[in-house]
């Protein structure tokens, strides 16, 4: 009697994804220092331009910053940038490094022999990564504001949270796209290193994207984190939405949310099949 294979049901896939997320949570619970560092890094990172600006511009720092960005509250502006950057950067690191780590340790091939699809595992990883990043970024933003003596709860906090939440799905979809690139090129560290700085540049981590040259600005606007960052900044600090009203900007993020995952799954599956056919899965 031959065993027949039937694809996993939706419930089984969800269970696998949650098991993958749980595995990651158990793993990170063994390294609490990493979480503490994730809270400290965005604060230190935002402090760099802050300290340089204060030292070089002196008492004019706030006024100059307002003239260039639309708000004198440079502490919150920079902290929002560095924390959204951490969320986006985490998505890229976790997705790409997951694949690369499995490749390096020789377990990626074994994973592909299980009946669970890699996209299901990527979903579990995304759940873990998003929860982890949201918690650490929120704590980091509040702690940073308190350290630099700024009210973290000014403006429309709920709207800012909505921009971040809606933006997360397209961000993880782009990260999956990036995972496909790592599968293909196999040099995750360098690619992630470059990518996270390109992301920070395009999303306007410490400056409004309006200062970028026109062509670069258009590229930046085709990138979901740019809308997340500006949405959160506008909701909290009133620097101005791209389309003047919040719901238009939110509409663009929703368009990203519907389109990006489909496109990413398609690309990832194509690359994955190509790598499998060429027996490159276990190579690094």
């Amino acid at each position: 009697m031959a065993a027949t294979y039937s694809p996993p049901t939706l419930g089984q896939s969800l269970s696998s994804a949650l098991a993958e997320a749980r595995l990651r949570f158990v793993n990170i619970s063994r390294y609490p220092g990493q979480l503490v560092l994730e809270i400290i890094i965005p604060i230190v990172f935002a402090a760099m331009p802050m300290l340089l600006g204060r030292a070089t511009a002196g008492a004019q720092a706030g006024a100059n910053f307002e003239a260039n960005t639309g708000t004198a509250n440079y502490v919150a502006f920079l902290l929002i940038g560095s924390n959204v950057f951490t969320i986006v950067s985490n998505a890229f690191w976790h997705m790409a490094y997951w694949l690369r780590f499995e490749q390096e340790t020789g377990t990626l091939e074994s994973i592909y022999l299980t009946p669970t699809s890699s996209v299901t595992l990527a979903l579990g990883l995304s759940i873990y990564s998003a929860v982890r990043a949201l918690i650490t970024a929120s704590v980091s933003y509040i702690a940073g504001c308190l350290v630099f003596r700024v009210n973290p709860f000014q403006g429309d906090v709920l709207l800012a949270c909505a921009f971040i939440a809606v933006g997360l799905i397209p961000v993880y979809a782009v990260a999956l796209l990036f995972g496909a690139l790592v599968l293909k090129v196999k040099e995750s560290n360098a690619l992630i290193g470059l990518m996270q700085w390109v992301v920070s540049f395009l999303m306007g981590i410490f400056f409004p994207v309006a200062v970028l040259p026109p062509v670069v600005r258009w590229v930046a606007l085709a990138f979901p984190p740019t809308w997340m960052t500006n949405g959160a900044r506008s909701a909290l600090l009133g620097v101005g939405f791209f389309f003047d009203k919040w719901y238009w900007d939110m509409g663009v993020l929703w368009a990203f949310l519907l389109f990006t995952p489909l496109f990413s799954f398609w690309v990832f599956n194509r690359v994955e099949n190509g790598v499998k056919r060429n027996e490159g899965m276990g190579q690094f």
């Binding site: 220092g33 260039n68 470059l194 920070s200």
Partner: protein, 287 residues
Amino acid sequence: MTANTTQTEILRGPAAWLSALAAMAWKELTIMVRYPVEFIASFGQVFVIVTVLTLAGLMFSKGGADNAGASSQTAGLVVYGFIIFIFLSDTLWTIGYNVRREQKQGTLEQLYLSPASKFASLLSRVAVTLVWTGLLSVCSAVLMSVLIGTLPFHNVALGAAILALALSGTFGVGFAFAALTLRVREAGQTAANFFQFVFMLLCAPFFPFSGLPDWLRVVSRLIPLSYSVDAFRSTMMGYPNGYPELAPIGVEIGIVAAFGVLMPLLGYWLYKREEDRARRKGSISDY
């Protein structure tokens, strides 16, 4: 008997050690060029970091991004600090964390089974940092000076001597970090990030020490790398008013020289200790 003696002589002595070091450094450089994406990506990364930091700093200046290229002092401050930062960062990862990478890939134990010098193995990793990071530093300095302002360029010989001593000390930090990585294993990644960010804050590579609160400046004064940053950039900037910030230049050079000579010795001693401990416990290949 004679043949055996000759073979032993070939494997020992300074010539053999240097030959092994050269072969290992060559191996590291060969690996480096075998990953062209990494090669190009790290170049691109430096250019983007420079642009991001420059634009961030310009948001505090009158005229904002239109003001690019105007401030010579800010250029010197950031560019020379960045050079020390990039060397420290690369040293932590390529010397310190590389040991962990070998552990993960399962090749560290094999290295220990070969008769080659373990110190040469550690030192060979410096070659990549010197060649590649040196090239990156020059390129980033040129780019930054275009973006922020003409780079002040004074006392080049003394500046180069201070940089050499600072780098020697930094490599010592790398050896010590390799020792720490052998002990803490996976947490070494977190530790590398942590040290990088502590350096960014306390050693003020991207802003003047006067930007730090008084109590943090006290902590900065306890770290020799702070004096490396301050002495190097003050010398290259031609000692403008208020520089060096932490101590008179003579004192700073003394501290940097002591750091450059003693830190590699201390770092290697720590590594040797940790290596012996790992071998005794049989944990060289653990991860």
